[in-house]
Symmetry: C2
Subunit: 430 residues, 2 copies
């Protein structure tokens, strides 16, 4: 039997173990600052697999002083990062397998059919917050490792499994692992891509604009200057900027997307009293960053747009729009479509599915931005689960996809890290 056949067979017989593991992970609500108990389950599994464990609380000075640390969390006590290494024999390429353990809040429990943290299994799906984003993906990683270890396949390169905190809040967990020295020749992040390969990831930053008008009584509203009307002008200018930025993108993966790097106006607040002309408006939004640009150049594009408006607009000359960048940021990511890591995963995909994977650009940032931009590590985002159900009520993952992803990842590990020669012979001869 070939490795492929053995991996397929092992997962066919044992893949369902992943369900129990995923249920236990979902049942620990690992919201921000509550990641500890779910990490303990991962730790237990990694020990069982015999991996070398590195468990630590992030937040040292090297992290906090890093220019790309965009994090408002101060307390990391009791909620560690975890890295578990399957050491290779040497002479092969290393691979990071990165998953985040934190989940977004569950929202209104009444919107859920079952308890948000039930881990209920129904119709071939596991339900609960984090099932798809991305505990299901993490289970695929652990199943892939378990398959390889159980089958006794020896690798040349190291496999570095990471279960990090803080992805949903900007990625400080993965940044900490990069700064701790974890590098590799490639990385796979099984975020919910619905089994597509995402070599490109859109980055993003949050902005806040403060627009100032002039108050007046609503009955003589012409004596004031409405911050709401000014805000509308600003929003229109931002839409023009969005159009200009997107028109100038020409990556093949962006050909079919209506707006590859959107500028989303997510929030507007203005006025306090129906009978008054509002004198201030706050606009908050998400600025999409192209994989082909830097965060700094994206920032400059937006600041230039606002500066031009401040220079050309009569009112804004007197009361300039203020811009702030606040909250979390997600670095964009970019890998050549024909990079060897893409080839390895594509080959594995074809072996399992009998057809090539869809290749797309992700509309959101991932921790891959830190791995590639700060760590210099080639990254492909590929995983089971779908974005449609992530962050929503009744989040679920299809069990079949989770196990299929495990198989493709196991083959990719073997293909990338390289099986030991004697190992090949020994096993292939069975």
């Amino acid at each position: 039997m070939t490795h492929e056949q053995k991996i397929h067979q092992w997962l066919k017989q044992n893949g369902m173990r992943g369900i129990k593991l995923l249920q236990r992970l979902v049942q620990e609500p690992s919201r921000r600052e509550q990641e500890g108990k779910a990490q303990a389950i991962i730790l237990e599994k990694c020990r069982e697999l015999g991996l070398s464990i590195d468990l630590w609380e992030i937040g040292d000075d090297s992290l906090r002083n890093h220019p790309n640390f965009y994090c408002d969390r101060t307390d990391f006590k009791g909620n560690p990062n975890l890295v578990a290494v399957l050491k290779g024999a040497g002479g092969g390429k290393s691979l990071i397998l990165n998953g985040h353990i934190d989940v977004v809040p569950e929202g209104n429990p009444n919107d859920w059919e079952d308890d948000p943290f039930s881990g209920t299994v129904k119709d071939g799906k596991v339900y609960g917050r984090g099932a798809t984003d991305m505990k299901g993906g993490t289970v695929s990683l652990l199943l892939a490792l378990e398959t390889i270890i159980s089958l006794g396949i020896k690798l040349k390169g190291d496999v570095i499994f990471q279960s990090v905190i803080e992805e949903e809040s900007g990625g400080a967990g993965t940044l900490a692992s990069v700064l701790r020295g974890y590098h590799a020749d490639g990385a796979i992040i099984p975020e919910p891509t619905n089994m597509k390969l995402f070599p490109l990831q859109q980055g993003s930053m949050w902005f806040r604009l403060t627009v100032k008008g002039k108050s007046a009584h609503g009955g003589t509203r012409y004596e004031g200057v409405s911050a709401i009307e000014l805000a509308l002008e600003v929003v229109n200018q931002i839409k023009l900027l969005e159009q200009k930025r997107n028109d100038s993108l020409n990556h093949p993966l962006y050909e079919n997307l209506p707006i590859p790097i959107p500028i989303n106006i997510g929030k507007i607040e203005s006025g306090a009293w129906p009978s008054s002309v509002p004198d201030k408006a706050i606009i908050e939004g998400r600025f999409g960053i192209a994989p082909t640009e830097t965060m700094e150049s994206a920032q400059t594009a937006m600041e230039d747009c606002i500066a031009r408006l401040n220079a050309e607009h009569d009112w804004f000359q007197k009361k300039p729009i203020e811009i702030e960048w606040f909250g979390a940021r997600w670095l964009p990511g970019k890998l050549d479509l024909n990079h060897s890591l893409m080839e390895t995963i594509t080959d594995s995909f074809i072996k399992v599915k009998g057809e090539p994977p869809l290749v797309e650009a992700s509309p959101w940032g991932t921790d891959g931005g830190y791995l590639s931009n700060i760590g210099g590590i080639p990254v492909v985002v590929f995983g089971p689960g779908t974005t449609e159900v992530a962050h929503d009520a009744n989040e679920y993952i299809e069990i079949e996809k989770m196990i299929e992803a495990a198989e493709i990842i196991a083959l990719s590990i073997v293909g990338w890290c390289g099986p030991m020669r004697d190992n090949i012979h020994g096993k292939e001869a069975d």
Copy 2:
């Protein structure tokens, strides 16, 4: 000496008494539900003047069940309405003098140079919340009465002085006084008109629009429908409606106003997260009502506009905009420019100032709406103080204007209610 001369002289000698009275009134912060102590000062003054007092707590069933009771206040205990009558000898026209005792909140005390309720006298002005809106006007009324009473001028018609609560919240105090049976042949309300005559008053109602979009991740914002963008379309439609309504107005007093009956968008709130497409927007505003229309027809104009948008707009066909009318309402008011009450006040004005008054339409509703629409009483709004400083920090009134208004009102009382014949002869002979 003529009445005019005597009134002028008396006020010249005694008008400064009004300062002390105004200071005491300003020093009692008669915010909503805290009107009692300021009313007690008015009561004391009315007793001193020998008026017949009617002091009562409003809120009986006839008020609460009235179709024009737009009030969310349930507790009127300890904060009474006050009506004090100077009974005439009979055979003359009666006159209501109406002032409200409630003041709007003082806002941030740090925005004030002195304490908001200091009653400080500086440079010929009395400072403090309510000085201009409208305790200063009320002092003009009381000074006018004191002048007439002190000079022993006997009147034919009744003078009905009213110090009401709730004007700033829609006028339940004045509505209660109408329902209690206080009617007259005319009324003067000394709101801050800056010594202009306002025979027309703009009414208003508050509306709330709920606009529904479709949520999506900001990175794929084209998969959602932004409630903010929809709200902008709605705002534009409302501006068209405003233009149409104002274009069709042709009252001479509106010729020079840029927007006689504005629709003010006072507040907008949409979205909760920069990275999400917002699925709901709430717009709140003030709908100006022309003196020449009814509240109902104004309401219909707005509802028709929204209904048309709901019928014609693809998205709103599926998710219609919802409209609510909420909070307080102010009825519009209208008096013929050549009504005899206008003539009386104009004559008095010319006698005091040597030139005719400016005549304008008020951009806001007053309790005059209740007096005229419900009570059928001709109303002119005329008073010292200016709207510019009302509702703002460092509110003040010019003492000279307050006393000048008292003189014009005193002459108007005598002119309207008619001095007794013997009284005329007796006094004019002095």
